[in-house]
Symmetry: C2
Subunit: 203 residues, 2 copies
């Protein structure tokens, strides 16, 4: 956009919005206009919410979740089973699993996956913290569920974690492969179908 | 998302982001996490930019553009031809025309189109302001280019404006219909093709 159309403050807002995932330069302009047109019920609340998040949000020092308290609400929730830890790549995976609402345990956010090509080694992830958590719990952790993505990097990371936890008296499990609920066989890849057949169960 | 996963501040941020055009609940969560992970170079600047926009942005009292000054940079730009006014539906259309960089004139933002079904009448738009602008210019405005969208509502609004400006010594023009540059005939509707043939020019 030529410099002369609008003020530098608005251009800066557009530029920042365009860096959000899911918004490009064009949709960022639309979002900025939408904000400006809804100043009282959207722009001002968003200004407050972003300021508050910038000041208050912390990374939980135990599990890596984001929250305004440390330890986070999950780690400090007494009603959750502390003997099961679910290992995820990212906070968004933790949130996704919580939406499924089948787990009532603790989490551990790795902060990514091992990826030698991108220069991500074990020291860039929180794998050491996970091992320390298990050791320091002195046998009270009975199961570590490795819930990483079903990608090559995810599976490599899962194997590395399994190696690191060797010798600890803890059961290590992983998510099942199979047909997604509501999925059509015709659209699935061979790997998924093979896994679904291999892990078939009685009807 | 269950209440217990993260702090209320983060949930409020997600909820506000999900109200931006182009972001749904899921992408708003991703955007919020992206902001939190990039606190210093994205979340804090965005908090500043939204606050600044909320405090400084005005609607230009002459043309309806958004800017931090009133009159806006376009209306106060002496190098622009004040004798031509381009009438657009929305500020985003003004910005789009400026990106095309073929006009060097003034604008008038209607704020929508006439739409009886949605309860939008002439008094909800800035049509009266436009007529006043033309009258008060005492003949120094030579042309009004009606650049509304080629929709039924847009064309209805264009006809209404033409009626309102009747009797003023001003030329009223509209954008050409035709084949979009780079467009393929096979994908165009019959109305566009008919208009393109009717308005054909010498090669």
């Amino acid at each position: 956009m030529p410099k002369s159309v609008t003020g530098p403050e608005i251009e800066r807002l557009i530029q920042l919005l365009s860096r959000l995932p899911g918004l490009g330069p064009r949709s960022a302009r639309r979002a900025a206009l939408h904000l400006i047109k809804n100043r009282e019920n959207l722009l001002e609340p968003l200004a407050g919410a972003t300021r508050e998040a910038a000041e208050k949000v912390k990374i939980c020092s135990v599990c890596g979740n984001v929250d305004t308290s440390d330890p986070c609400v999950i780690c400090s929730d007494e009603r959750r089973d502390p003997s099961v830890i679910v290992v995820v790549e990212d906070v968004s995976d933790l949130w996704a699993l919580e939406r499924a609402a089948v787990l009532n345990c603790r989490y551990h956010v790795l902060g990514g996956t091992l990826s030698p090509l991108d220069g991500v080694g074990p020291e860039d992830l929180t794998i050491n913290n996970l091992v320390s958590r298990v050791i320091e719990a002195q046998g009270t952790i009975s199961e570590v569920i490795i819930a990483v993505n079903a990608t090559v990097e995810g599976q490599t990371t899962a194997h590395f974690i399994t190696d690191q936890l060797e010798g600890q008296s803890v059961k290590i499990t992983r998510l099942a492969h199979g047909v997604p609920v509501g999925g059509e066989l015709d659209y699935l890849d061979e790997g998924t179908l093979a896994a679904a057949i291999k892990s078939r169960s009685d009807f």
